[in-house]
């Protein structure tokens, strides 16, 4: 079973909950697809055994018979490739590696060269958790390429947990797609509700079964559960706000480490998810 742990809003506890689930239901493979801020290893300490570069193909220009390629430059809507003063300038960080310029330009003028956009590290954490984490290089924008690279290391013979990036755009979609179930993490605030609404649209678009976990629950704001009920979106668990949980999480402890009683509750949640897929 592949479970994506997502959430429209940042800071609602996606990583705390996904790493806590991993601890409770191991053996499992954990994929940190929040590649712009990969911090699951704060909760699941691990020693990377392999580190691999994620590369995309970008054009390199060689002056060939003084020929520039206007068609390729005109085609590039990201200005990664421009013609200026009978020369071509290339900005690899703006290139999305679509390959259009290679089709339009003679091979003698443009050749594909690798450009590193991130790193993928894999290794083993304690308690039977296999970890893969991706990290986008600062200044790069090929977020989805790094996510795809992390997901290409998915193991087929064990359960997989995916820590997704926040939001409802391409990176979140890329991390969620192909999973069997989406766990939508939110908090009981108007912000949490707004972003959950967007997340719901995304899982509907992908046709994935989903359920909600409300983190830091127990406050007076009840709109999140009311809205979820209206939508037929099950609220599978609530994690009450306690000073003990906040203190533990701030120190990089997962829920089962903060209170072993969470092991049972999280396994129950896992069983519930299994029934719904």
């Amino acid at each position: 079973m592949i479970v994506a742990v997502a959430g429209g809003k940042g800071g609602v506890g996606k990583t705390l909950i996904s790493t806590s689930l991993a601890r409770a239901v191991a053996p499992v493979q954990f994929l940190d697809c929040d590649v712009e801020e990969p911090n699951a290893q704060i909760f699941l300490k691990f020693t990377p055994r392999r580190s691999e570069r994620v590369e995309i193909e970008v054009p390199a220009y060689r002056k060939w018979k003084g020929e520039v390629c206007e068609a390729g430059a005109e085609f590039c809507r990201y200005q990664a490739l421009i013609v200026i003063n009978d020369d071509m300038l290339i900005f690899p960080q703006l290139c999305t590696s679509c390959g259009g310029c290679f089709i339009l330009c003679p091979a003698q003028a443009l050749t594909p060269v690798p450009h590193t956009v991130g790193t993928v590290r894999s290794g083993v954490s304690t308690g039977g958790i296999n970890m893969v984490t991706g990290e986008l290089k600062i200044g790069e924008q090929s977020t989805t390429e790094v996510i795809k690279s992390v997901k290409s290391r998915m193991e087929s013979d064990r359960d997989v947990l995916i820590d997704c990036p926040p939001g409802n755009s391409r990176p979140a979609l890329e991390a969620m797609r192909g999973s069997d179930f989406c766990l939508l993490i939110t908090e009981p605030t108007p912000f949490g509700l707004e972003d959950l609404k967007g997340n719901k649209e995304l899982v509907d678009l992908l046709g994935l079964p989903a359920g909600v976990v409300i983190n830091r629950s127990g406050g007076p704001y009840q709109e999140v559960s009311r809205w979820a009920l209206e939508q037929g979106l099950p609220v599978l668990a609530e994690i009450p706000w306690t000073a003990e949980t906040a203190r533990g999480a701030a120190r990089g402890r997962t829920l089962p480490e903060i209170d072993p009683a969470w092991n049972g509750r999280l396994r129950e949640l896992w069983g519930d998810i299994e029934k719904r897929t």
């Binding site: 200005q79 990664a80 003063n85 300038l89 900005f91 703006l94």
Partner: protein, 121 residues
């Protein structure tokens, strides 16, 4: 001599825009006659690559000098490939920036004076 000044408005009395790629207007000024033409910057709200687009546009204006507050790395590459001289540190109105340039009070910058995405802040 024709120069271009980045500006927040279309007049010589408008405040000079400290940003290059995301400035509101490019004002082409003839430093002898003080005749000027204002061009609004189409790349001011571009998602990305604003400095590159602006650099390409400016290089098509037939000027030899760019006067602005600061330039980022991508714009600096384009302007230098276009053979344009870049003067940074412009402040006050466009008129004052032109005067400062004429008085030799601005810094000639061969490379970027700020990091990427500075104009988005």
């Amino acid at each position: 001599m024709k120069i271009v000044v980045t500006s927040t408005g279309p007049e010589l009395s408008s405040a000079a825009d400290p940003r290059f790629g995301r400035c509101a207007y490019f004002i082409v000024v003839d430093t002898d006659s003080m005749d000027f033409t204002a061009h609004s910057n189409a790349s001011g709200s571009a998602m990305g690559g604003a400095g590159i687009q602006a650099g390409q546009f400016v290089s098509s204006l037939g000027v030899s000098v760019v006067v602005t507050g600061a330039v980022g790395p991508n714009a600096a590459r384009v302007l230098s490939a276009s053979g344009l001289k870049v003067y940074t540190g412009a402040s006050g109105t466009v008129q004052q920036a032109v005067d400062a340039f004429k008085g030799g009070k601005l810094n000639a910058s061969a490379s970027a004076t700020v990091g990427a995405h500075n104009g988005m802040r």
